[in-house]
C-alpha cells in the first residue's frame, strides 16, 4: 500500500521533472527583446535557434517570443534575418530567464550609412571651371560643409543612413558669386551619392 503511494509520487515527480527539462510550451515566462532604432521591417529573431519572431514595424519597441519559458531555463537570442542595408547587433542576449532577465536582451539596428556629395563649378565669362571664390558653405540641414576655393568635388563628412531624406542648400554664398544647387534633394540610396551639382555664377 505504502509503496503504491510512493510510486505514484515518483511518477508525478517524473512528469514535473520532464516538464522542467523540456520546457517546450510548459513555462511561464515570456522572453522579450528590446529592438532599438529599426527603421524598416524584415527583422527575424530566434531564441535557442528557433521560435522565429518576425518584426515588420519600424521604431523602437519591446517584442516577445511566442513560446513561454520555464523559470531558470537558458535563452540565447540571435538574429536570423537582418533587413537589407541595415546592420543589427545583439546585446545581453544570453542568460537564464527569470524576473530580472526576461527583458535584458536588446537588438540595436542602424541603416547602413553612405556619403553625400557631388561636384562644384564656377562659370566665369561663359567658361566652366573649378570653384573660383572663397567662402562657399553648403548645408544638409544641420550638417554644414565649407567648400574651398579651387574645389571641383565635395562630400559631407558624416555619412547618412540609407532611406533617410537629404536636401543640400547653400548656407553661405562665396564672395562675388551666387551658387545654385541642382539634384540636391532625394532619399539616400544604398550607395554613395556623388551627383549633386553646385553651379556658381559671378554676380554683377
Amino acid at each position: 500500500m505504502k509503496s503504491k503511494y510512493l510510486s505514484a509520487a515518483a511518477a508525478l515527480l517524473c512528469v514535473a521533472g520532464l516538464a522542467a527539462c523540456g520546457g517546450k510550451g510548459n513555462g511561464s515566462l515570456n522572453l522579450g527583446v528590446q529592438v532599438i532604432g529599426l527603421d524598416r521591417g524584415g527583422l527575424v529573431l530566434q531564441n535557442n535557434g528557433g521560435d522565429d519572431l518576425e518584426i515588420n514595424t519600424a521604431g523602437t519597441a519591446n517584442y516577445f517570443f511566442k513560446t513561454l519559458m520555464a523559470p531558470d531555463s537558458q535563452f540565447n537570442v540571435t538574429i536570423k534575418t537582418t533587413p537589407a542595408n541595415v546592420t543589427c547587433k545583439t546585446g545581453n542576449n544570453t542568460g537564464k530567464i527569470n524576473y530580472y532577465t526576461y527583458l535584458q536582451s536588446s537588438v540595436t539596428c542602424t541603416a547602413d550609412p553612405y556619403t553625400l556629395g557631388g561636384t562644384v563649378s564656377s562659370v566665369v565669362n561663359g567658361i566652366s571651371g573649378p570653384l573660383s571664390a572663397d567662402g562657399l558653405v553648403l548645408a544638409n540641414g544641420a550638417q554644414t560643409l565649407a567648400v574651398a576655393n579651387g574645389a571641383s568635388t565635395w562630400q559631407f563628412a558624416t555619412p547618412i543612413g540609407n532611406q533617410n531624406v537629404y536636401g543640400v542648400t547653400v548656407l553661405t554664398q562665396p564672395t562675388g558669386q551666387k551658387c545654385e544647387v541642382s539634384k540636391g534633394t532625394g532619399t539616400m540610396p544604398a550607395r554613395n551619392v556623388v551627383d549633386v551639382v553646385v553651379t556658381c555664377m559671378k554676380t554683377q
Binding site: A139, A142, T144, Y166, G167, V168, T169, L171, T185
Partner: protein, 199 residues
Amino acid sequence: MKVQVIGAALLAAALAGCGGKADFVIAGTITGLSNPNLVLVNNGEELKVPNGATSFSFPNSISYGTEYNVTIKTQPDHMTCSVVGGHGSAGHTTTIAISIICQQNQYTVGGSVASIAKDGTSGPLSADNLVLVNGSSSGQIAIAKGATSFTIPGTIPVGTAYGLSVFTQPAGQKCTITNGSGVVGDANRNDVVVSCEVL
C-alpha cells in the same frame, strides 16, 4: 588651569567628532556648459563660472547648520541652466553636492507658403502633396493644401544650421524657397518664404 585647558581641548575634539567637520564648501558639478557669462549666487555671494567649467565651488565656506541656497543669477549666453539640490543646510549630508545642468536654447524655424495663380493672384497653398526637407535633420515636412504658414517640426538649438528644400512638388505647381537657409539665433525664425506657381 591645566586641567581646564585639556578639558576644553577634549570637548572641541569631541564636538568635531560628532559634527564630522566645522566648515562646508558649497560646491557641485556642471554639465553641458558651453557658453560664457553664467553667474551663480548663494545668499548674496556671486560666483562667475567660465565657459566649459565642469565643477564650481564658492570661495567662502559655511559652518555646520548654515543654510545655503544656490540659484542662477545670470544665465549663460544662448543657454538655460537649472540647479538640482541647490538648497539645504550644511552638515545635513557629508558634503554639499549641487548639480547644475545646462542646455542650449532651442527655437523653431518656419515661414509662409502661398500659391500664385495664373492670373497672378496669391492665396493659400492650393495643391496637395507639397513636402519639404531640412536636409537629413527633420525628416519629411508635409504641408497641407490650404496652408498659409508652416513650421519645421521640433526645435533647433542656437548656432545650428538649417536649409530647406522642396522634396516633393505639389500636384501641378512648382514651388521655390527664399530665405530657406541660415543658422538659428536667439529667437524663433519665421521668415522662410515658399512660393508655389500654378503651372
